[in-house]
């Protein structure tokens, strides 16, 4: 579904991604680990197409279509969705407004449907609030997922969806992510693919991901079973990844 080839990216003259290669097929969900500042968020933002992430070389393909030069909103329309690690607050625009727009863009809008989605994430009382304004850390994570539910993209990128989420809500978040990624379906029936960034790996208790990767210093340095990788990082830190034979 998504293929990143030899991607090198800089921001303001600083190289943040170096020759990254990644291929995620329909039905798959992969986990991305890596130390702070290693370039994980940069990879996601480059895939969604945020201006300022300058592509020095390499290409990005979505369903075999080259989207390297495509504008962000066009990528969203094709079915790429993202839950940001630290989204901005948008003063004056209500959560309900953006959800309505997302649903309308898919076709028929109905208010009940919107409320139902909000209820699923325990955010009914947040609909009339300005997006993310004054939201707590955990509320932001749920609001991001809610927007993805409204958008219903086919390739879903989640930047630390489990950071700062309490033990009760992680349950909810885990369930919604599985639903978004159609994890309850057989792999061959799934129309979705996912890329999830996590540090602590709480989300692994809910999402049975297919593979894991570790990003080090702008490059993907190793891959493997996500639980094994997490265990290695726990015991040996990221040093092991530098020399990892995998």
């Amino acid at each position: 579904m998504i293929e990143v080839k030899n991607l090198t990216v800089s921001i303001e003259d600083k190289l943040v991604l170096k020759d990254v290669n990644l291929h995620i097929k329909q039905g798959e969900t992969i986990i991305l680990f890596g130390p702070n500042g290693s370039g994980k968020t940069s990879l996601l933002k480059t895939i969604i197409g945020i201006p300022g992430y300058r592509i020095e070389s390499g290409r990005i393909f979505f369903n075999n279509m080259d989207i390297t030069e495509l504008a962000m909103d066009k990528r969203a329309k094709l079915g790429i969705g993202i839950a940001f690690q630290r989204p901005p607050a948008v003063r004056g625009v209500k959560l309900r407004d953006i959800l309505r727009i997302c649903i309308e863009k898919r076709g028929y809008f109905n208010e009940e449907n919107l409320n139902e989605l909000a209820n699923k994430l325990n955010l009914l009382n947040f609909l009339e609030r300005d997006i993310n304004l004054g939201f707590s850390g955990g509320e932001i994570k749920r609001s991001e997922l809610l927007q993805l539910l409204a958008q219903d993209p086919s390739f879903i990128m989640l930047d630390e969806p489990d950071s700062g989420v309490d033990l009760v809500n992680i349950n909810l978040v885990g369930k919604v992510i599985n639903e978004l990624l159609e994890r309850e379906k057989m792999a061959s029936r799934r129309k979705k693919a996912g890329l999830i960034i996590t540090h602590a790996g709480y989300i692994l208790d809910y999402v049975n991901a297919d593979r894991g990767y570790v990003m080090m210093n702008g490059t993907i340095s190793c891959s493997g079973n996500p639980r094994d990788l997490l265990e290695d990082i726990r015991t040996e830190g990221f040093e092991g990844c530098v020399t990892c034979p995998r």
Binding site: P51, M72, P88, V90, G92, I98, I101, C102
Partner: protein, 408 residues
């Protein structure tokens, strides 16, 4: 002060410059206008007039209105109240009818404030008188329209609004020009008297032309437990607009809110503020302004004066600069004269954050949609205590104004 005194003081102030705003040579405007005939119903007005009036919230069908006043140039075409306990007439007529009205004439605004108040005293062309009798409560708003049809005309009106004890009054005032008019001067004196336990909301929508100059002069005196909620919207071109409405909280627990929404295109100069004297225990004031420029210059002012302990007031001003040209100058002032008061302000001026546009684009909105969603949200001031249909009028004026300016 007697009528003679007022005239004397006005004469002395004839050349007195306004404390702020560019000076206007009053002689370049014509004082004369032909008389327009009265109408029995607002429906009889021409389609052109009706259409322009709709843009400033005036409904010629008079549906959902408790009364109407319509002045074209110097002629009062229509005035009527359709609910008991309400009085609607021209202020000149009211002055003849009620001896006591002189007690209210130039009491909330000083006659010798500047040359504009002086001109309104010396060459007044009507204006409206609205009064709610004690305990009267209107469900629907009163509407008042001031309309200018003659090119180059100076219209000088003096409005008096009295909400007697325990009454409740909602007013919408629309001021505009005929589509062909480019040049003119509008001077509008408005004096509000909000008695004990009375509640007044006042919504004013302006839709002028690119060469019209506007000098409203407004004062409001609010007694014990009185509430004055004022909303002002100007989304259309104007040559110069300068006003600094002032409210005086003289009774305990008097409450004032001013909401101001401005949008200026290139060539428009707007200098709009609001000022509140908190002079009685427990008085409250909230001032909120939203200004956007697409090339015009806006000065947005706010001034809170805390004169006694136990008052609370907040001032908020936000400005968005949407083009290379244009400027927004926010001037918030807080003046505390005693201790034990609570006054604060916040002001922010800038362009739309790129990050916010990108965020919405990541959800599938294009640049244009994302920008306009943010601007719409920016202009959508939370207005508490206003009847639904007036909220709708404000929303309509803001959104059509916004859309038209964007497409220009």
């Amino acid at each position: 002060m007697s009528a003679v005194d007022n005239r004397e003081r006005a004469k002395k102030a004839q050349n007195k410059l306004s404390a702020i705003g560019p000076d206007i040579d009053l002689n370049t405007y014509s004082a004369q206008a032909k008389e327009h005939g009265k109408v029995q119903k607002l429906k009889e007005l021409s389609d052109e007039v009706k259409e322009k009036s709709i843009s400033v919230g005036i409904d010629a069908e008079e549906a959902c209105r408790s009364g109407s006043f319509f002045q074209m140039d110097h002629s009062v075409l229509f005035s009527s109240a359709c609910q008991s306990g309400l009085e609607v007439m021209s202020s000149t007529e009211a002055l003849e009818k009620y001896d006591w009205l002189s007690d209210y004439w130039w009491k909330a605004v000083k006659v010798d404030t500047d040359k504009y108040t002086a001109a309104a005293e010396l060459h007044q062309n009507h204006g409206y008188f609205l009064r709610a009798l004690p305990g009267a409560k209107v469900e629907f708003p009163l509407q008042a329209c001031l309309y200018m049809t003659r090119e180059g005309l100076a219209q000088k009106v003096h409005n008096i609004i009295i909400a007697e004890e325990g009454s409740e009054l909602h007013i919408i005032t629309g001021c505009t020009t005929a589509p062909a008019v480019r040049t003119g001067l509008h001077i509008g004196i408005s004096e509000f008297y909000i008695k004990k336990n009375a509640h007044v909301t006042f919504t004013m929508i302006h839709n002028w032309a690119e060469n019209v100059e506007v000098r409203p002069r407004t004062g409001a005196i609010i007694e014990e437990n009185g509430v004055f909620l004022s909303n002002y919207v100007c989304m259309k071109p104007v040559k110069t607009l300068q006003m600094y409405p002032t409210a005086y909280c003289v009774g305990e627990n008097a409450t004032v809110r001013f909401n101001t929404i401005l949008s200026a295109v290139e060539g428009s100069h707007m200098d709009v503020g609001s000022r509140v004297f908190l002079s009685a225990k427990g008085s409250r004031a909230e001032l909120a302004a939203r200004a956007i420029t697409r090339g015009g210059d806006i000065v947005t002012r706010g001034h809170l004066i805390g004169e006694v302990p136990g008052i609370k007031a907040h001032l908020e001003c936000r400005g968005l600069i949407l083009s290379e040209k244009g400027s927004i100058h926010a001037i918030p002032e807080l003046e505390g004269k005693v201790n034990n008061i609570d006054m604060s302000h916040e002001a922010a001026v800038g362009k739309i954050a790129e990050e916010e546009i990108q965020y919405l684009m990541a959800r599938g909105l294009n640049n244009e949609e994302a920008t306009s969603a943010i601007i719409r949200g920016f202009l959508d001031v939370e207005i508490k205590g206003l009847p639904e249909h007036l909220k709708r009028e404000i929303k309509k004026a803001v959104e059509t104004g916004e859309r038209e300016e964007r497409l220009m």
